[in-house]
Symmetry: C2
Subunit: 616 residues, 2 copies
């Protein structure tokens, strides 16, 4: 029975998956290649290790009964003994080893002055493992130390669970990586992500060629893939639009069990089967595909019998309100970091096409379907997509954007700090700092007295001890394709920055100085959130002009006419100045390499870089 | 300067390692093969994604200014609009998209009844990433979701840090895996473990051929390996014995910086260099090699610039006292498990040759050098060698040994339970259960009244609610090479079990019944800790006879003469009977498959298998 986007709850979809496990295969692999794989059957020792008694010391092998009564007063000259080194066989006629330090050696004769107890300094046969004992059970994740033991016990290859996954990229708009996409084209990336994801779970992945949106072609590829694999994933075409053939094709060759699951992103997913082969229709938006891989395909692998590592879960305080539709399980990517002793989590952009949200995230939140979201400040349980230690490296930098933040991010990586920046404008940064929602807030707010930042900190964070560290002086100016100046703006289409951004405050100030009314600037209400975003809107023709820093205009090769110089500083609570991550950030700002970068980028004044100002 | 086993503290050895970083190489790998690798340089976007504005909905692209004033009362028939589907380019002359649901379509004309705001339903160019922005910094561990993004942004290969590691196995006693070692021979396993270990850290490993204990040969191989690699590890020959050439060879070609580090196991380690190539002399004992890999080589990789995952650390209560030499950092392998809400950790056998301790362990403890050990019951911090979730799977089974425990271990794996058994004998099991040091204690203690176990529980764990679940009735008997019976024992060399084991209690009982004095049995004091260990001692000729279960004698193909039948039960605190891991264990005992196994092994009575008895 076909079910076109008759959306079912996530829990119900998981129940469907339990009934169509992947028919796992058993790969017999050399032990050297088995690290991280899962044993498919128990492994037993076929001989004992050691197989015979070995000397545990350098010395002589003797019969303990021959040593009875030996003492300083009555030494015994042994009639029968044999020199052995550590690891040598203790011949069957002997039952103990005497350390060479306790033996008086004279040519081939050995004299001792104390008795030996039976089996002293002997590694008995089977001390490590005895013939017939189990080395590893099934379903064990093999570690390097296991591989050493397997080798020592004579095991050269080992059966591990695996599955063959066929991945079919569909879409007439797709081009292969390495080909620059033309307008409306997209680089095929989802099957590459899926292949990497499934390989980590023990899958051997085959990616089929790019397949156009033609149901006959998709049908042929699916039939072939189902014949060659234990699991098939068809990327895209999974929705119910006019060019979405995936569900029809699966239904034609096999059965569609589910079309549509109440998750976001990822709703238009298909769960089907061809014979015993499960077939998953992966939605085309990258973050939808990622969510389906994590929330449906990974459980399918687990249900099929392969233990799958689970993410670490920690409690964290949300920094912003998240609305969600009741009846839908929504998954939100996060930048999480420990501030003092508690964890905070900042939601990233939720657009299903924004892959950078996945790249920038180190965690995610599931908003279960009965809930309509969470309020800012609520404590939630989040799942980490990095290790606990890597999460500890995160520093949350929230506020004004500047292209140099990317470069600071790179510099602090060398101190094992992971810089997460959120571009919410200078005022947004101050609010985040006030709420303890970030470690550091980049700000450049021009006050009426001509100073930057301090008057705003005194007003919005009164009686709180804040340190300001200057990143650089920097030049803001008009970016355009034709070399426009600020006086040319009236009547020109403009791209502005968001309310609360320092750049917008600066624009308003400069327009006011020149007596230019905002109303004369078409597009004044159109907002970008970064300097690069402004420059890009100009480059693509969306706007004729915008206000941004020189480095952004230069990065996109656009003319730049200076308007003003300003002080771009990072505000940090004084109590956090000793945090090693903050120290790394300050070290990066004050490093010679950062000054070089500022000069290479252009438009920055490094004479005030690193200067500390304290409030109050 | 040579330093032969002039042992230095671990911290000092780490300082030496900081000064000889591995000269890392940069491997440029296809992104598909980059998962888990570490970026060697930042990666920037060379074009924006999307590069042009795209429709975010199916509908029509329009100029928003053309829609001003549209309403139900005064619909507007648009003169200029274009049909677009989601993902299509919005041509430059348009600035918004109206959803098809809101458009009255009549052939090529479109009528709307409400105005559109500028840029509605448009995915702006650069929404995901803008040209020149950083995708990933250096030193980032690449995840599958990163690979998806890299592909989408046109990146096909990526520079990652790596190093070439050359591994030289030395020792004339070595044979290759797959060859059954003769007496005194050992299968070469340490370089396989090291290769697997280093591969996980980004190393590309070359194992050189088995190299005999000849300094000229080792020298030639080392010279070759140093020329072909960024790091060289020489396995074994690292001590100061007469056939230990490793230090001399390193000193001859380069420099020995350290010979001997105060760690146990692993003391006879060598740290040296050839030019800029660090050379590590790995001790030959497998657990010494493992400790050096973990405590010295892994930090060396980290110091060299590759971030290395760190183990999870949890607090746990030690179940037994550990003595350690002050001045030495000692590392003890552990079986750790959560009992109720607290974690307990049981030390495993500490012999440096016992690789099974590494296989059985899921954690380890570092006893820092100033300490002389820990008392049983002390709380310590332990490091996990499995994931947190995998550690949660552990069930600690402490007490009497039986070969069927291996089979139960295999059966419960299918319920994701990880059975750790410690063979301390029945009395040891009761003590562990009393202290809450285990989940379950296998016991078979014959009481004077002829019953098993219950009288001992009443005596040693009075007023505590214990459930006894019968594993099986089983037959104990005399194992020998010649078919001896218990009456043949006087004058025969014997292998006994440890004090407190039920088998020893049974032996004493049976000897008493027959009036055979212990003094008449040579070897009565010689102890093995498992049934298989007893059978093996008989098989290797160490003893002529022992008392064990039928399955152990049969596993080694030895004659067995029955002595008595007994009740082998598992004691569990009633409060733990609902624990899912205990349920899995009981399920395994009561499964049809387990009865089959009992019959296949022989010597068991499955008629009482699974029977529950309660105390009190």
């Amino acid at each position: 029975m076909k079910r076109y986007l008759s959306v079912i709850p996530l829990e119900e979809a998981l129940t469907f998956l339990k009934h169509i496990p992947i028919p796992l295969c058993v790969d017999t692999v050399p032990i050297e290649e088995s690290s991280g794989r899962i044993t498919a059957s128990p492994v037993f020792a076929t001989y004992s290790v050691p197989e015979v008694h070995l000397a545990a010391m350098d010395g002589i092998a003797i019969r303990s009964e021959d040593t009875i009564g030996a003492s300083e007063q009555s030494p015994i000259r042994l009639q029968d003994a044999r020199r052995v080194n550590t690891g040598n066989v203790v011949p069957p006629e002997y039952d103990a080893v005497i350390m060479i330090e306790d033996v008086w050696v004279d040519g081939e004769t050995f004299t001792i002055r104390k008795p030996a107890s039976p089996w002293q300094h002997v590694r008995p046969a089977g001390e490590d493992i005895a013939e017939s004992e189990m080395i590893l059970p099934s379903l064990h994740r093999i570690r390097p130390s296991d591989i050493g033991a397997l080798a020592a016990y004579g095991i050269t290859e080992i059966p591990v669970f695996g599955f063959r996954a066929g991945l079919i990229p569909t879409g007439s708009e797709l081009v292969a990586p390495g080909i620059r996409p033309g307008p409306g084209q997209v680089v095929e990336s989802n099957t590459r992500m899926a292949a990497s994801w499934l390989s980590a779970l023990g899958g051997t992945c085959t990616r089929y060629p790019l397949t156009p949106d033609r149901s006959d072609v998709i049908r042929d590829v699916l039939a072939k893939a189902a014949g060659e694999n234990d699991l098939v994933i068809i990327s895209a075409g999974s929705s119910a639009g006019t060019k979405d053939y995936t569900a029809d094709v699966i239904a034609g060759l096999g059965e569609v069990l589910v079309h549509g699951v109440a998750i976001k992103p990822g709703k238009p997913v298909i769960i089907g089967k061809l014979g015993k082969i499960p077939v998953i229709g992966l939605p085309g938006y990258p973050l939808s595909a990622l969510t389906v891989l994590r929330e449906l395909v990974t459980p399918l692998v687990r249900f099929s019998g392969i233990p799958v590592p689970e993410p670490g879960i920690i409690p964290a305080r949300l920094t912003s309100t998240l609305h969600s539709d009741a009846g839908t399980d929504e998954f939100v990517l996060l930048s999480a970091g420990r501030i003092g002793s508690s964890w905070v989590a900042t939601p990233l952009s939720r657009g299903a096409g924004i892959q950078m949200s996945a790249v920038r995230s180190n965690a995610y939140l599931r908003i279960i379907s009965p809930l309509e979201g969470y309020e800012a400040g609520e404590n939630v349980l989040i799942s980490l997509t990095v290790t606990d230690h890597e999460a500890e490296e995160a520093i949350l930098v929230t506020g004004s954007h500047d292209p140099v933040l990317d470069h600071l991010s790179e510099l602090v990586r060398h101190e094992r700090v992971d810089l997460h920046s959120s571009h919410v404008g200078s005022m947004g940064g101050l609010i985040a700092l006030k709420r303890n929602d970030c470690h550091a807030a980049p700000v450049h707010l021009l006050a009426p007295n001509g100073d930057y930042n301090i008057p705003f900190l005194e007003k919005y964070l009164p009686r709180q001890e804040i340190d300001l560290v200057c990143v650089a002086g920097r030049e803001q100016g008009i970016v355009s394709r034709e070399g426009l100046s600020i006086d040319d703006l009236p009547g020109r289409s403009f791209i502005n920055r968001q309310k609360g951004s320092g750049t917008r405050v600066l624009l308003d100030h400069e327009l006011h100085l020149r007596g230019i009314p905002k109303e004369d600037i078409p597009g004044y209400e159109r907002e970008a959130t970064t300097h690069i975003g402004v420059a890009l809107a100009v480059k693509t023709g969306e706007a004729e002009a915008g206000l941004c820093v020189y480095s952004a205009a230069r990065a996109l090769g656009l003319p730049f006419v200076p308007v003003a110089k300003e002080r771009y500083e990072i505000a940090i609570r004084r109590e956090h100045m000793e945090d090693s991550r903050i120290s790394a950030l300050l070290g990066a700002i004050r490093s010679p390499r950062f000054r070089e970068i500022l000069r290479e980028l252009g438009g920055y004044d490094d004479s005030i870089t690193g200067v500390l100002r304290q409030v109050p």
